[in-house]
């Protein structure tokens, strides 16, 4: 028990070596002005900028706007993906009709849609939300389809024996056993949405965290750029963590019922 703890502390300590070296190294480089300030920035300066941006409320404003965009796009895309995935998994004919078209559409790299969507929707919010929903749609569709398609046949037979209605079948059999796959889809979809909101804001926005990074670049202020990058990475990670813990609690809740 105690040995385990020592090993854990050791692992963490080893993990901290590289970041600490990086911080110290960057501080020294900046102090001695070895590289131009345009390229490197002292870590303490990034921290100061971070707190400044927080205290003026600027950072939170940008975050709130990006968050709103991500959630709208994600909900739109993931819901559509979920519905279509379910339909395709339940009816083989609809799969045969829809799948070829979708797989052709999915060949287009996501960023390739930007010029088209901008011509259709302008550079406003609609463009961003639609673009983000594209990213959320495909992972959700594929994972919903695979989750529901992969439900063991014996479960379905039991449900048929009990003469479950379609809604009851969906609620009691299909969704619970597809849950892990659905969560994979949600995680991928949200991660993709987060990536795309940053991308969209780099190109066409006057606010949002992506814009914050571009703004820092335009001012040649590396510290703002770094704050932006770190915050974007951290929020993305936080969303992933939230979903994972939600998944763990949901699957735990669902495990005993599936055992019965």
């Amino acid at each position: 028990m105690n040995n385990n703890k020592v090993a854990q502390v050791k692992t963490i300590a080893i993990g901290l070596i590289v970041p600490m070296l990086l911080v110290v190294g960057l501080e020294i480089i900046c102090k001695l002005e070895i590289l131009p300030a345009q390229i490197v920035v002292a870590p303490h300066k990034v921290l100061i900028t971070f707190f400044e941006l927080i205290s003026t409320g600027e950072l939170l404003d940008h975050l709130r706007i990006s968050m709103f965009r991500v959630l709208t796009g994600f909900v739109l895309g993931a819901t559509l993906g979920f519905l279509l995935g379910t339909v395709m998994a339940l009816s083989a004919r609809s799969e045969r009709v829809i799948a070829p078209l979708l797989s052709a559409v999915s060949q287009v790299p996501l960023f390739g849609w930007i010029p088209l969507l901008m011509l259709w929707f302008g550079i406003g919010e609609t463009f961003k939300v639609v673009f983000i929903s594209f990213g959320a749609f495909f992972p959700m569709l594929i994972n919903t389809f695979e989750g529901i398609h992969g439900v063991p046949k014996s479960y379905l037979e039991v449900a048929r024996a009990f003469e479950f209605s379609t809604i009851k079948l969906l609620h009691k059999v299909l969704l619970p056993s597809a849950l892990p796959s659905l969560f994979t889809g949600i995680k991928l979809a949200l991660g993709m949405s987060w990536m795309l909101v940053v991308g969209a804001e780099l190109i066409a926005a006057g606010e949002g965290v992506g814009y914050l990074i571009v703004w820092g670049r335009q001012l040649f202020q590396m510290d703002i750029v770094f704050v932006g990058i770190a915050v974007v990475g951290f929020i993305g990670y936080l969303m992933f963590l939230t979903l994972t813990s939600l998944e763990v609690s949901l699957v735990r809740w669902h495990r005993p019922t599936s055992k019965k």
Binding site: Q107, F111, V198, G199, G233, G236
Partner: protein, 265 residues
């Protein structure tokens, strides 16, 4: 059997027909709407315009030139990123200490959404190298992760056999670890190439002035040449499809020893 295969063929043909149903409906609707001039021309170019646009950019060479630039750029970024990723993946997989040392930093960096690196790379202003690096960052992750998994999943009895034969580190790497982790690396490479192709378009939109299909789309958008944007999208999708196809074939070709691995279990 023959009866079955005829039936199989029939259902196959039927399935293909069903798959063509939606695309045909869409194209017919597109034709009808564009001949009736119901939809605004700027937003929905007619199929004829798209084909004319295609001829235009094909005959003046811009389409092929820009596609070529993008493909070469992707290959550069992909090679740089996947080689780096392979080396990192192998090292982390083989050394417990380096795994503990590097993994936290690697995971932290990996959290940053890929587009966010673009402004940083612009600021560092390395020209073409910025675009290649941008692609390489995205190309590196899947190779690291899959190679690492592959190395970690090398069967321990193989390693033990190596010990019995007193293999040196180098021998152990070339005779045991590399061959048994390679199928996993290939999966990583396939993912990596498709991410690279997605990122090249982004790189060319975020960091213009180096040519390429993404930049071509971007300037077509600025000129409101919707027909050409559509041509570019189809071109990008086709190249992406071909790349993925080649990688899948390679993965299948190399997976023969993955199959034998499973059988020996």
């Amino acid at each position: 059997m023959p009866v079955l295969s005829i039936k199989g063929n029939k259902t196959k043909i039927l399935a293909v027909l069903e798959g063509l149903l939606l695309p045909v409906i869409i194209i017919v609707a597109w034709l009808i709407f564009s001949t009736l001039n119901i939809l605004p021309k700027n937003f929905f170019p007619s199929p004829k315009e798209v084909i004319n646009g295609f001829y235009e950019v094909l005959s003046d060479g811009t389409f092929i030139d820009n596609l070529g630039i993008s493909v070469i750029r992707v290959l550069k970024g992909f090679l740089l990123g996947s080689t780096t990723g392979f080396v990192i993946g192998i090292t982390l997989g083989m050394s417990r200490f380096l795994e503990k040392l590097i993994t936290p930093v690697f995971n932290a960096i990996r959290q940053v959404p890929l587009p966010a690196w673009a402004p940083l790379l612009v600021l560092v202003s390395l020209g073409e190298m910025s675009r290649v690096l941008f692609i390489a960052i995205g190309a590196c992750y899947p190779v690291v992760l899959n190679t690492f998994e592959g190395v970690k999943n090398v069967r321990s009895d193989y390693i033990e056999v190596g010990k019995v034969f007193r293999f040196s580190r180098v021998q152990r790497f070339f005779k045991i670890i590399l061959p048994s982790s390679f199928p996993a690396t290939l999966t990583g490479l396939r993912l990596s190439l498709s991410i690279s192709w997605m990122l090249v378009v982004a790189a060319e939109i975020f960091m213009t002035s180096g040519g390429g299909i993404g930049e071509m789309m971007w300037s077509c958008r600025e000129d409101s040449r919707m027909d050409l944007v559509v041509v570019c999208i189809i071109g990008i999708a086709l190249i992406g499809f071909i790349m993925n196809f080649i990688m899948q074939k390679m993965e299948m070709f190399f997976s023969f020893w993955r199959v034998t691995l499973k059988q020996s279990r």
